[in-house]
């Protein structure tokens, strides 16, 4: 078997780099965020085909930071266009935009979703609080179950690395962080701990065979588990047109791939070091 302990440098390096990426972006406030976190206005217009030059015209008329995205259904038909404006609009400004869109020939329904920064700051704070609590509670449960310090820490560390590295990957890929992403991160916590618990139980609690054998057995089961979930998520991502489901799927896909690295290299490495020291 490859010297896992040498391979451990990879996940550890990934964790350190990720902490750096996440840390600097957080302090600079440059994490790409969707409007439900950073505030702004989302205007959805129901159209059956793309309105040409909408983004440019809006930018010219209003001078806001504007991003126009197409919304498509399963068959690939355009069903709506989303206009994302980087600042929250007052009632009067909203009316101005509605008038403008009407003048531009958009006579269908116009839906406006405004999120003020104060609201978004609150979401952010709540969300971060939730993740920290979730994490702490889980750590307590794991520790109560295994009653040994180092292996429990390994499980907790693996979960922590999963989240931080996934966040870093998202930042680097420019994937927007949103409320749905937070949902996904919590889901990720659950999934990632599953594989680590499987590994730790098989290695610590079972007596049959040597350590490497038990690890290999656990890996077969664990990779099947991650494999089925990944398959389902990839299909979900491809087939679904819902923005929320897509956001959740992409975070989980990245997270599970990262988890494979963290569980089967980092966690395994720590367990081996712990057991071989005796």
């Amino acid at each position: 078997m490859l010297d896992i302990k040498k391979l451990m440098i990879i996940p550890i390096l990934a964790l350190v780099l990720s902490l750096f990426v996440v840390g600097t972006n957080m302090t600079q406030g440059t994490i790409p965020m969707s409007i439900d976190l950073k505030g702004g206005t989302l205007i959805t217009i129901l159209v059956s085909e793309e309105v040409p030059g909408l983004e440019d015209n809006l930018k010219e008329e209003f001078g806001y930071g504007i991003d126009v995205k197409l919304v498509k259904d399963v068959s690939g038909n355009v069903v709506a266009e989303d206009i994302e404006i980087d600042k929250p609009l007052t009632a009067g400004e909203r009316r101005n935009v509605e008038n403008f869109l009407f003048d531009e020939g958009i006579h269908g329904e116009v839906l406006i979703h405004t999120i003020w920064p104060t609201l978004s700051e609150m979401f952010m704070r709540q969300a971060i609080k939730a993740v920290i609590f979730a994490f702490s509670f889980m750590a307590v449960v794991v520790f109560l179950r295994f009653k040994t310090f180092v292996p429990s820490i390994a499980v907790v560390l693996s979960a922590f690395s999963d989240i931080v590295v996934t966040l870093a990957v998202m930042i680097l890929l420019g994937i927007q962080l949103s409320l749905a992403s937070f949902v996904a991160l919590l889901l990720l916590l659950g999934y990632s701990v599953d594989t680590d618990i499987l590994l730790t139980t098989r290695v610590l609690v079972r007596k049959k065979g040597d350590i490497d054998g038990r690890i290999k057995g656990a890996m077969v089961t664990g990779l099947t588990m991650s494999g089925t979930t990944l398959t389902a998520l990839i299909v979900l991502f491809i087939v679904s047109t819902s923005r929320i489901l897509d956001e959740i799927a992409i975070v989980l896909i990245i997270g599970l791939i990262v988890d494979i690295m963290n569980t089967w290299i980092q966690n395994v490495g720590i367990l081996k070091l712990y057991l071989e020291r005796d």
Binding site: L46, V79, A80, T90, A91, G92, N99, E109, L111, I112, H113, I115, W116, T118, M122, F123, K129, A130, V131, A134, F135, F137, M138, V140, V141, V142, R145, L179, A180, F182, V183, L186, L187, L189, G190, Y191, V193, D194, I197, L198, V205, R206, G217, T221, T224, M225, G227, T228, T229, T231, A232, V235, L236, V239, S240, T241, S242, I244, L245, I248
Partner: protein, 504 residues
């Protein structure tokens, strides 16, 4: 072999739960949330933090108002002590108006207030008056209010009655007098923007009149006069002909000093005194006291049943409905501000539902293929699929009983539960397959140690979401907990038995 399976108690429990769930779902249906059904989600911030009692009052008033509009599926939730989150299925163009209105009724004779909303004893449903072809809201006031009404009416020799809802102050600045004859504009009575030919013209889009907001002027007014106002420009044929300013406080509250300062502010920019018009806004109706009523009051009677008229067109009908609803619900104790409004049209919602179901089925098929490739026998694939589907059915059954809204985060929760479910089933399968030397009991016990720990960690992760109460994440968390718990106590034991009989 199937018969042996069906005799197993744990499998029977599973079948029972599935059948019950199917029954429940087919009779009660599943309540879908906004994302699937279409509707509005509105976030409201109160002027200042409220204590529990005040918040309860506000929520109750808003519920009454929305129900009054005929909106049945209304969920109102306070968040913290300053925010309220409202989800309404279906939509109504008046939702925002009705929620933001404080609802203070002020009825004056001449310029003197004779009674207010506090004096209302009963409000009847709005209706159309056949004789005058106008929409009206009948109401009854208490003895005191009626007495004052009579006294002042007599004293002022039957001056006109004006009824205000959330009276405010309006200021119009006229920059181009030449447009006046074109509009036939009358502000002589001091009521601006209501019952006003100019506002009618603007609302109906005729005469090429446009309203545009003027943020710069608004900021300046806030800085120099310390007044919060809505400020806009009036444009005719793309030429700015004037400005309008609407302030929440009544002229009385503002006081003469402030009003003088406003005039000076505009004088300083070169506007003459006669081009600054200041009046009241929020007028619902003004009319002389009818002959019949005059007679009653003249002979000394106190009249307690009165009528509030709004007009004869469609706008008047909507306004009458709004007035009735707001008066009935009572006035809000503080000012509120709509901070966010999200509307999902039903068509988009339906498309999403269909798409979500399709995506789910595809995912399930993909997982089935993967599992088949791994285990090479349908004896494992089929039970996993059956268990997975059973789990979704039972979760939906539970959601149906407790009338939990299925929206996209809830669907995500279901995916979470089923995903961990499949994971757990793989754990059970591998334990059973791998350790053939130990007793089946031992193998399954081992598997469940892992499964229970995983369950406990998932629940631990979801609990903070519910406690912190983060909006849509609460639904996700609860469905996930329900899902994994159903899994651990019902579907997984049944699956263990299935595997036992088929493969063990």
């Amino acid at each position: 072999m199937i018969s042996r399976l069906l005799e197993d108690r744990k499998i029977r429990i599973l079948i029972a739960f599935v059948l019950i769930s199917v029954l429940i779902i087919s009779t009660r249906g599943i309540t879908t949330g906004l994302d699937l059904q279409g509707g509005s989600k509105i976030t409201i911030q109160t002027e200042r933090p409220l204590n529990n009692e005040e918040m309860g009052q506000v929520v109750s008033i808003m519920t009454k108002r929305l129900n009054g509009l005929g909106l049945k599926d209304v969920r109102i939730r306070p968040w913290g002590d300053e925010f309220i989150i409202i989800e309404v299925a279906g939509s109504n163009p008046r939702i925002e108006d009705i929620l933001e209105k404080i609802g203070i009724l002020d009825v004056k004779v001449g310029n003197i207030t004779v009674f207010t909303g506090a004096d209302l004893e009963r409000v009847e449903a709005f209706r159309k008056n056949p004789l005058q072809n106008s929409w009206e809201v009948p109401f009854t006031i208490n003895e005191e209010g009626a007495k004052k009404f009579r006294d002042i009416a007599l004293k002022t020799n039957f001056s006109e009655v004006s009824m205000f809802m959330d009276e405010g102050t309006a200021i119009m600045i006229i920059r181009d007098r030449s447009i006046m004859p074109r509009i036939g504009f009358t502000a002589s009575k001091g009521y601006l923007f209501d019952n006003d030919p100019l506002m009618d013209a603007v609302n109906k889009g005729i005469l090429g009149i446009k309203f545009k907001t003027n943020e710069d002027l608004r900021k300046k007014i806030k800085e120099e006069l310390d007044i919060d106002a809505e400020v806009g420009e009036i444009e005719i044929d793309n030429v700015v002909v004037g400005e309008y300013i609407v302030i929440g406080e009544t002229m009385e509250l503002l006081g003469e000093d402030k009003i003088k300062k406003i005039k000076e502010f505009f004088n300083a920019t070169g506007i003459k005194e006669e081009d600054i018009l200041i009046g009241s806004t929020g007028l619902v109706n003004h009319a002389p006291i009818g002959a019949g009523l005059r007679e009653e009051l003249f002979i000394g009677n106190v009249v307690r049943s009165l009528i509030l008229e709004t007009g004869s067109d469609e706008d008047a009908r909507l306004e009458a409905e709004e007035v009735e609803v707001v008066l009935r619900s009572g006035s809000l104790p503080i000012k509120v501000d709509i901070k966010g409004k999200y509307g999902v049209p039903p068509e988009l919602g339906e498309k999403f539902t269909r798409n979500a179901i399709v995506a789910g089925l595809f995912a399930m098929m993909a997982v089935a293929v993967f599992i088949f490739v791994r285990y090479r026998t349908p004896k494992i694939v089929v039970p996993i699929l059956i268990t997975g589907l059973s789990e979704v059915t039972i979760i939906l059954g539970v959601a149906s009983i407790i009338k939990w809204n299925i929206d996209l985060p809830a669907i995500a929760g279901i995916i979470a539960a089923v995903g961990t479910g499949v994971d757990d089933q793989i754990v059970i399968t591998d334990e059973v397959l791998m350790e053939k030397t130990k007793s089946i009991r031992y193998r399954i016990k081992n598997a469940f140690f892992i499964i229970m720990t995983a369950w406990a960690t998932t629940v631990a992760a979801m609990v903070p979401l519910i406690v912190i109460g983060m909006g849509m994440l609460v639904g996700f968390a609860i469905i996930t907990i329900i899902g994994v718990t159903i899994g651990v106590f019902i579907t997984r034991p049944a699956y263990a038995r299935m595997i036992q009989h088929l493969v063990g």
